[in-house]
């Protein structure tokens, strides 16, 4: 509200000429025009061509010819009748729930831990988290491969030494389940810092008088968390959860590289990889476009909560 008044300060209204008013009205549009134009060209057109491609037969031959053949909804029919699509979708949903659940739970626990430790531990742990946060995904994948390799990976050594079991020569990538578990470990490790540090910042907003009052009234730790802390940090948790859902549902780099470019098979596909293999690797761009549209629709449905929340943030200022 304030910025509306600020855009037309009183002194200018007195001596305003009409062209000036027009210029002022046009100014925001002139300012956003370049961004809108660029995004329209590099995103608007591809999205339009995505719709068109999905209705066409478009393979390598058509790519060279620059011309697809219209086949109606055939691509969608193929995808929706493909059991691999449904299995992949189900697997991706389970994967997303597991990843987001673990990230949010552990992230919140770390944030609560940060409140309880001495300040030197807090500084140490925060520095560690920021370091982990800054690791590029591709680099993290290489480190994971090295730590978990069957011959002399440090993970096998430590687990064996700690008598967790005999992990000598253990192959962590033997089954789709263990492959995706490794991917989950990698993703949760990489995502924890952002969640932990953001929730910790939100915890600082919890009034300490309220916590103390609740404790004096005899509330237990869990009750204090549920009735005093939770209401304050809930908006932040909501945003972090929806962001994590969107990121994990569309994830590509970590599973693709950790499982290995030559080892992604239908039994360990996630949506991003399924799309990549069907559309790009097999050069069936029409079918790939149909899968993309289905995936984008799911993501759009998932992001409604987040977008509405952020819109409120944008409007509030």
């Amino acid at each position: 509200m304030a910025s509306a008044a600020e855009a037309t300060p009183k002194w200018s209204r007195r001596r305003s000429l009409s062209w000036r008013r027009v210029a002022r009205g046009a100014a925001p549009y002139a300012l956003i025009f370049p961004v809108v134009a660029v995004l329209g060209a590099i995103l608007g057109y591809p999205i339009y061509s995505l719709l068109r491609l999905s209705l066409q037969r478009y393979g390598l031959f058509e790519l060279i010819q620059h011309k697809g053949r219209y086949i109606g909804l055939h691509n969608f029919g193929l995808v929706l009748h493909d059991p691999v699509f449904w299995h992949t979708l189900a697997r991706t949903i389970v994967f997303t729930v597991a990843n987001v659940g673990l990230t949010m739970l552990l992230g919140t626990l770390i944030a609560l831990l940060l409140v309880r430790v001495s300040s030197w531990v807090r500084v140490l742990l925060t520095a560690g988290l920021v370091l982990v946060w800054s690791m590029p995904q591709v680099v993290a994948v290489q480190v994971w491969l090295w730590m978990t390799n069957p011959e002399n990976g440090v993970v096998n050594y430590v687990l064996t030494k700690l008598h967790v079991g005999n992990y000598l020569q253990h192959d962590w990538y033997a089954t789709p389940f263990s492959q995706l578990s490794m991917v989950t470990l990698l993703i949760v490790w990489g995502a924890l810092p952002f969640v932990a540090i953001t929730v910790y910042a939100a915890l600082a907003q919890v009034p300490s008088e309220l916590v103390e009052a609740a404790e004096i009234d005899g509330a237990r730790g869990w009750q204090v968390f549920r009735d005093v802390t939770m209401p304050v940090i809930k908006p932040v948790l909501l945003i972090l959860t929806s962001l994590s859902i969107l990121w994990d549902f569309g994830v590509f780099t970590q599973p693709y590289l950790l499982i290995g470019q030559g080892h992604v098979i239908p039994s360990n596909y996630l949506m991003g990889i399924y799309l990549f293999e069907q559309g790009y690797v097999k050069t069936d761009f029409g079918r790939g476009a149909a899968i993309s549209i289905l995936m984008l629709l799911i993501v759009a449905a998932l992001s409604v909560v987040y977008v509405r929340r952020m819109l409120r943030v944008g409007e509030a200022t």
Partner: protein, 277 residues
Amino acid sequence: MTHRQGRRAAWNLVGVALFVLMVFPVFWMVSTAFKPDDRINSFEPTWFPTSPTLRHFTDAIHRPFFWTDVKNSLVIVLVAVAIAMVLAFLAAVALAKYRFTGRQAFIVLMIGIQMLPAAGLIIPLYVLLARYHEVNTLTGVIVTYLTFVLPFSVWTLRGFILGIPKELEEAAMVDGSTRFGAFARILLPLVAPGLVATSVFAFITSWNEYIFARVLLNDSAKQTVTVWLSYFLGTSRQTDWGALMAASTLTAIPVVIFFLFVQRRIAFGLTAGAVKG
């Protein structure tokens, strides 16, 4: 009191253990990079590089295409970020300083685009760039990088501009400056740290990007450093772990350094305002 101190000591212990667990992979990467091969390949691990060597680093940088691909990454990232900053700054000013019809739609567009999964866009972008023969060119990749750098930068810069006290700008205008004068002399210097932070963060995101670069650049001499690193393992039976970890360390270093600088400024960009309600 002792009970309380005991509890704090226990939490501290948990905190330190967690620190070790979280940081271990990064430590292990750097430690491996400096160890001689016989120490790396033995089953019994050597925790610290007691006789450090730089051989793996020289191996890594002498691998084919390392410098070419580093250069490609730099060109792509610097051009994309420079273009994005100019365009995004203008749009961010519009969002922060004006109310106009379509503002809400524009915000939805900026947030919505950031939500699109990259995997969903590679097919049309690939086909489109193939049509204009821009596959395997740096230009094609720069253009695609703008799709995620622009919306992020608009949103973050908007936050930084809002952070500037309005009174300062108004005071300048009362002093007889034009709106543009106030903008150039007051707003720009104040928002400069925000511009730096945003562009560094955009730099990091683009430097780390993998899928677009992987799909759009097939030629080893045209690839970015992340794609170069992802092909490092190659097909050889005997993996050169030392060189791989040295290469990983080298790829991560610029990102880590930059990140440590701007983390505090950017960290809350995504959720800023949500806390206040």
